[in-house]
């Protein structure tokens, strides 16, 4: 029964992603994007990564999406209009080429994935006891690891995040009219 829910989520991810790239209208595509991220968070739960799923919802849905919406909703009206009016050509040469490349890429990936199916990496099978179990407290585990093994990357990411946000704010700052 739980598997069925996974496939529903998987289906939702793919459907909303597809719609997000095909629908016209930026706002709609952003909300479909949100649906995709939300569904993906559901998928994480089935990978026993509840903390990541929460983070996904908070950072992406709560952060990125809002940032996106706010980014142009707070901008000039004509920016919005321009963004809204963007029309897509459906049957351009480039679309077909892109579609072909995307499909070919998918075929490549699927081929690779199905090939590796038979022999899952050895380290996955070495010790099933080291697998994360549904009853484990992943937040605890992550917290321990962040504070110990991944402390430096964590700090770096923090600094990086701050730099990025400050930089973004700086770039987006309106030029003083001179």
């Amino acid at each position: 029964m739980t598997e069925l829910v996974f496939y529903i989520f998987a289906f939702l991810v793919l459907l909303s992603a597809l719609l997000a790239v095909t629908v016209s209208g930026l706002v709609r595509s952003i909300f479909l994007f949100f649906a995709t991220l939300f569904s993906a968070a559901g998928l994480y739960v089935f990978a026993l990564a509840d903390f990541i799923a929460i983070t996904q919802v908070i950072v992406y849905v709560g952060g990125v999406l809002v940032l996106m919406l706010f980014a142009f909703m707070l901008s000039d009206k004509d920016v919005l209009n321009t963004l809204q009016k963007m029309q897509q050509k459906v049957f351009g040469m480039q679309h077909i080429a892109a579609l072909l490349v995307a499909v070919a890429f998918l075929v490549v990936l699927v081929t690779v994935i199905t090939k590796t199916d038979a022999e899952i990496p050895g380290w996955m099978q070495v010790s099933p006891e080291k697998f994360v179990q549904p009853e484990d407290n992943t937040a605890n585990l992550i917290g321990v690891q962040v504070m110990t093994r991944y402390l430096l990357p964590f700090e770096l990411v923090s600094v990086f995040l701050m730099m990025a946000l400050v930089g973004a704010a700086h770039i987006a700052r309106k030029e003083p009219r001179s």
Binding site: Q94, A97, A98, F105, V108
Partner: protein, 683 residues
């Protein structure tokens, strides 16, 4: 060295002919405007003296023939030379004599003209051409000078070149004469082909080639060459055509009346006395060449022309036109004389006619001269040559009046004048000629007879209208005064008047056969003398002529109104010159011009069109082959180039500066790489 040695005589004759050329060259090249009279008169005077000497030494003596090689073509040499026989030396004297008088007359008549030097030069050129023609010893030379005479006449008719009528007239004269020249040229070609020479003496002399040639079985044989006999006739007709054109005979007479646009002195010299006589002269020269057919043609042409011109002269009002038509008519008489084989009579009439017609014209010139002065002071413009505007000039111009009287009587052919002698010679001969032939041939002498009466009438009309009756010009120009002509004009009139009497031609004023001139030429066709004709005809002619003159005097001198109306078919027909000009205009000139226009169009559209079509076809073929070359032949070559170029383009197009392109291509390569690796691994 005496004067009668042939060499001296020919030299003198050459000098007589060349001197005017000298005058022409000097005057033409160097003379200042208005000058040249002295030299021209001097040269023509010397020419006249030399001619007189030559004439006195050659008349009725052996022919003198002197020639030099002119040029050689193939094995034939062409000579230039002089033939002095009775005909030649007579003409030489006649031409130079009359020319001298006209020259003198011109000094007064042309006085004040701005282009006088041109006049003298052209007049000298004419004298040179005419004098040379009459003494030339071969047909080629005669032809050359014949054309030059036409050319100088062209120049002189168009002397007042600013007048449209004058330049129309001289063009017409030259072109009509050219038609005749074609005839002569054809004759020349035939004679040369048959006999291989142009030399008159070889051809026509005693035992000449022409005389020895004969016609047998329709072939014309001269011992060396043969030719179908029809060419003999054609040759004769060719020369006749030339004579017809030059002597203004029907149907080529149209140029002469128009030629009256030239100065009157010129008209008198060229278009009355000498040049138009050239045709008669030529026929007389070539008389032995003509066969019966040709002679009949000549006779008929002459008669027809005489009648036609006389009828037209009846109704013309321009004093010079009347005289012009009378000239045509008289030339017709001369042609008639030649046609009936009496070329001696023709030459006789030519000589007498030269004097009295010249006199008529010069008198008319004097009248026109005075009338022109009258016109200049007149308040209204009028035609000073129109006889309807003249009248009563007898009292004002007595000398001219008498001169004109003599000339008119000579023209009519009243006894004691020269015209009586020569005209009787022709009339009587024609009756005698007709007597030998069928009854139809009587038409010719009878027509001639009628014509001579018509002559009497129009001459009388002209004379009375000009000199008698009322002074009609007074009405037009109350201020005008008419004087006697100046001396330079008067004396030539007097001399010519004397020459128009019987005195210098015959001791017997009534019998033409006693004329010395007539006896200078052999009678070619001896006619049986019918005595009764010799008395009846002159009597008949003169009696009736006098009656006609009286009638004309009644009509034109005594009252102002005549019984004649300017209406009716015959009047219109004559007044419009038998509609011949109109006919030519419609039937020939227009046709030729239309043909020319058509040919021009043909040339443009068809001939050039063909060329353009060819060019178009060539162009199309070239385009086709260029296409083939570009796409098929070069295609192979270019294929390689195009390939590399398109690869280059392809590579170049990748560098679009568009991120998505780059990405796409990158992925494309990644995938390709993967596939290749995958399959190579799979294998």
């Amino acid at each position: 060295m005496t004067l009668d040695t042939p060499v001296v005589l020919t030299d003198l004759a050459i000098a007589a002919a060349i001197l005017p050329l000298l005058s022409f060259l000097v005057t033409g090249l160097f003379a200042k405007p208005g000058k040249g009279a002295f030299l021209a008169i001097l040269t023509i005077a010397i020419s006249f003296i030399l001619s007189a000497i030559v004439f006195s030494q050659t008349w009725n003596r052996l022919d003198i023939h002197q020639q030099y090689v002119w040029f050689t073509i193939g094995n034939t040499s062409f000579y230039a030379g002089i033939l002095l026989n009775n005909l030649g030396s007579l003409m030489l004297l006649l031409v130079s004599g009359i020319a001298l008088l006209v020259h003198i007359y011109s000094t007064a008549y042309m006085k004040g003209d701005a282009y006088l030097h041109r006049y003298w030069a052209h007049l000298s050129l004419f004298c040179f051409s005419m004098l040379s023609m009459v003494i030339a010893d071969n047909l080629l030379l005669i032809y050359i000078f014949w054309e030059l005479v036409g050319f100088s006449s062209y120049l002189l008719i168009g002397f007042w070149f600013t007048r449209d009528a004058a330049v129309q007239a001289n063009k017409k004269a030259f072109i009509v004469n050219r038609i005749g020249d074609l005839g002569i040229l054809s004759g020349l070609m035939i004679v040369f082909t048959q006999f291989g020479t142009f030399d008159l003496q070889q051809l026509l002399g005693e035992n000449g080639l022409i005389i020895n040639a004969f016609v047998q079985n329709g072939e014309w044989i001269n011992g060396v060459h043969t030719m179908p006999a029809v060419w003999l006739t054609v040759a004769g007709l060719g020369f006749v055509l030339g004579a017809i054109a030059k002597s203004a005979q029907f149907p080529l007479h149209v140029w002469l009346p128009d030629a009256m646009e030239g100065p009157t002195a010129v008209s008198s010299l060229i278009h009355a006395a000498t040049m138009v006589a050239a045709g008669i002269f030529l026929l007389a020269r070539l008389f032995p060449l003509f066969n019966d057919t040709v002679l009949l043609v000549i006779a008929i042409t002459g008669t027809l022309t005489a009648l036609m011109a006389a009828t037209i002269a009846l109704v013309q009002n321009d004093i010079k036109k009347v005289l012009a038509y009378s000239t045509i008519s008289q030339l017709g008489f001369m042609m008639l004389a030649i046609g009936i084989g009496q070329y001696s009579a023709a030459i006789f009439h030519l000589t007498t006619h030269a004097f009295f017609k010249c006199l008529l014209f010069l008198s008319a010139g004097a009248v026109i001269h005075e009338m022109h002065h009258v016109k200049q002071v007149a308040p209204v413009d009028f035609d000073h040559q129109d006889i309807r505007n003249m009248g009563g000039l007898r009292k004002h111009m007595p000398v001219t009046f008498i001169a004109m009287l003599v000339a008119s009587l000579a023209l009519i052919g009243i006894p004691l004048t020269s015209g009586y002698l020569s005209k009787d010679a022709i009339l009587i001969s024609s009756f005698e000629w007709a007597a030998l032939r069928g009854s139809w041939s009587k038409i010719i002498p009878v027509t001639a007879l009628i014509t001579s009466w018509l002559t009497a009438f129009y001459t009388a009309r002209l004379f009375f209208k000009v000199f008698l009756g009322k002074n009609r010009w007074r009405i037009l120009s109350p201020e005008g005064h008419i004087h006697e002509a100046p001396p330079a004009m008067r004396y030539p009139l007097v001399i010519l008047a004397l020459c128009s009497t019987f005195l210098i031609f015959s001791v017997n004023p009534l019998l033409y056969e006693d004329a010395w001139l007539l006896r200078g030429f052999p009678a070619v066709e001896s006619l049986e003398r019918i005595n009764i004709i010799h008395t009846v005809i002159p009597a008949l002619v003169n009696l009736l002529a006098i009656l006609i003159i009286y009638f004309a005097w009644q009509q034109y001198a005594r009252r102002d109104k005549t019984i004649f109306t300017n209406r009716g078919f015959f009047y219109d027909f004559a007044f419009n010159k038998w509609y011949i000009d109109n006919l030519y205009q419609a039937a020939i000139i227009k046709r030729v011009l239309n043909l020319a226009a058509f040919v021009r169009g043909f040339d443009r559209v068809i001939v050039d069109g063909m060329v353009h079509l060819l060019a178009k076809v060539g162009q199309a073929l070239a385009t086709l082959s260029a296409w083939l070359d570009t796409y098929i032949v070069d295609g192979l070559v270019n294929g390689v180039g195009i390939l590399s170029k398109s690869i280059g383009n392809f590579a170049r197009n990748m560098q679009t500066g568009k991120l998505q392109h780059y990405l796409l291509i990158t992925l494309f390569i990644v995938i390709t790489f993967f596939i290749v690796t995958y399959f190579s691994l799979a294998i």
